[in-house]
Subunit: 404 residues, 2 copies
């Protein structure tokens, strides 16, 4: 984006905090508790993991968003402990946090959402969290831009932030931050994303916009196909602006909001793929010509998750056979004789037959941080783009050598 | 198995050959063409890749087995070139081989089956193959035990052979050989398996037995989830024995044959997992207590294909969180509160809650070539075992560094 990136901390109608609560001690103490608080209960939407094993905070958030019809006052996030696979005790801990925070700002617990990322199977220390919540409340609004994005990191190498302005609505914008190597690092679970806007959007329209945008952004990013117990994406709209509200989930104003939200979520999700564990490249897998969009997504995902394709990208190996092979085992309809394939702009396979190409040239072209892979199934108009990263020895090192 | 391993070369009613045809020149010339020939057309069953992009030999074999009703005289195998993604020219090459071999032993081409493994997208040299076929025919029956198993290897580290005797039928046995790191190595495709028996089995019963056994052996082995364009498994029954034939696909004699076939296929498929590219361990993922067998298979496969679980096995990391997480995203019904999990015989997770265990002890127990991982879903009687291997830096090296 050409515009200057605006931070979460700058969105009118919200205050944030980032403090050290002592939850995450590995590898060394740092800020591990962050808070977003609106001035009043505001329209809030959330999408959560589809994993059948959902962490305690996810269960609580689903319940609270349902109870309030999509309104929330604050979101509390901790890094270090995922509060997943912790049974009823873990659910009590999540509720305890919501209660303490609710009491601190004098709102019912249903208006509080919580998010956790970190080790699975370890209980949160409620005592530490309660002390942390008090400290966070005391420091609300005193953080520097970027503090929030840094406090939520676990094995991520870099903070991930993005923003975009609503076309023609001066001063109205959306800003977000997220964490996640796209999967579970050494027991460090989760993709978490927080997106704030000062636009005025009704709860139902907000939920619809988020659902629509997630399908073509976060849900099309894959690092290794593993979906965490804690994955959550939140969107809050403070409405602190003079511009008319988006009230319906259709129409010009809604479409404009969706377009802006897409830009933010697309940027955040691409940052996740690029920062995948051990990744040296962002790989863009584009499938066109599928019978329908659903099949294009299935084909692109199967290619993007193939360890053989991902290691070939790491090795600058224009190994189109692996790509065609992954394609053939996807659930998309494939007619070998109609398939064409390009890598870094060069055609390698044309209507079912290999094309003569200079391997060294293509391999050189692959020595970049951005690989473009395009497959044309030649069967219809369905298309989709999935973002992933390469599979490197760094991934093995990070994931095999952590606890022992 | 306690019995001495019998070789393919020893099965009455068949002769084999293994010669150098000059198809596979990398990394250095060696035997790359092998042949199995029965004394007459005998009952033969085959199962092939489900990949939509099927290699030319697979297409030919399906056609020939259908045309003959499951009878074949000979199977020709080459290593070095997969004859996949080679268009109509490739299909002509496969047919040309079948014709040359058929002419050489004076049978119609429909009685000939062919199998290829190697680089995708490269044409077979029909001239070299024809010379090779003549040479192989001239040396039929002159090979040493084990020659066949060695000639079909590509990136495999070791030949894979197994045999078993039919219970109570003296002198009747099944012997097989296979190749494959379970996936596609540097453009080197394919799992190929060849199983021979001197038992007398009618074509329909033979096909039924193979289908039944494959479902619980080869189809439950996964190295990296990639299915090749060339995967093929053949079973030929010469019937050169005094024992009554298996004519129906049910009954005591059929069951006995299936049991014996299972032992051979189970051993061969386990050898494939253990020899997976870069593998340092065989990992046995057993799921019990699923609502049904299908769900147990789905759960076990999702765990066995999770890169995070596989790297944890490599790192001797008793990281049960990754296992539960993979379980939760599988298509099997999972109720977190009922899930229990054991690793190397030690209980790590019990009915949805972590168990206190000594991490160093379990990690030490994991320092073995055979890891046992058992998950109890606590929901029903469905069970399945999937075999896989760990994911190591060796895998990355082999697959990233080949062509460039």
């Amino acid at each position: 984006m050409e515009e200057k990136t605006r931070r979460l901390e700058e969105v009118p109608g919200f205050r944030t905090a980032a403090i050290e609560a002592g939850i995450r001690e590995w590898p060394k103490p740092r800020n591990d508790l962050a808070l977003i608080a609106a001035e009043s209960a505001v329209p809030t939407a959330g999408v959560f993991t589809r994993n059948q094993v959902a962490a305690a905070p996810v269960k609580l958030d689903r319940r609270h968003l349902k109870a309030t019809g999509g309104m929330a006052r604050a979101i509390l996030v901790n890094a270090g402990v995922a509060n997943a696979c912790t049974g009823e005790g873990g659910e009590d801990d999540a509720l305890g946090c919501a209660r303490r925070l609710g009491a601190g700002i004098d709102v019912p617990e249903e208006q509080i959402l919580v998010a956790s990322t970190g080790v699975i199977g370890t209980r949160l220390s409620l005592a530490k969290m309660e002390k942390g919540i008090d400290l966070a409340l005391a420091s609300l609004g005193k953080t520097d831009p970027g503090d929030f994005a840094r406090a939520i990191l676990t094995t991520d190498l870099s903070p991930k932030e993005a923003s975009a302005e609503l076309d023609g609505d001066a001063g109205v914008f959306i800003a977000g931050a997220c964490k996640g190597s796209g999967m579970i690092a050494p027991n460090m679970a989760t993709m978490l994303a927080f997106v704030l806007t000062n636009a005025a959007v009704a709860p139902k329209a907000l939920a619809a916009a988020l659902k629509e945008v997630v399908a073509s952004t976060f849900n099309l990013v894959t690092v290794d196909g593993d979906t965490s117990t804690n994955d959550s994406l939140f969107l809050m709209a403070s409405g602190v602006t003079g511009v008319p509200a988006v009230v319906k989930d259709s129409g010009r104003r809604y479409d404009k909001f969706v377009k802006c939200l897409y830009r933010v979520c697309h940027s955040l999700s691409a940052q996740i793929a690029r920062d995948g564990e051990g990744a040296s490249k962002l790989v863009r897998v584009r499938v066109i010509g599928a019978r329908r969009a659903r099949e294009a997504r299935a084909a692109a995902k199967t290619i993007a998750e193939s360890p053989l394709v991902k290691t070939a990208m790491f090795g600058n190996d224009p190994n189109w056979g692996r790509i065609v092979c992954a394609l053939g085992r996807s659930s998309a309809r494939v007619d070998e004789g109609r398939v064409s394939l390009s890598l870094c702009g060069a055609r390698l396979f044309e209507k079912g037959m290999p094309v003569d190409f200079n391997k060294a040239d293509i391999s050189n072209a692959m020595k970049t941080e951005d690989i473009e892979l395009e497959v044309d199934l030649g069967l219809g108009k369905g298309e989709a783009t999935v973002l992933t990263c390469d599979l490197t020895d760094g991934y093995i090192r990070i994931n095999a050598d952590y606890t022992t």
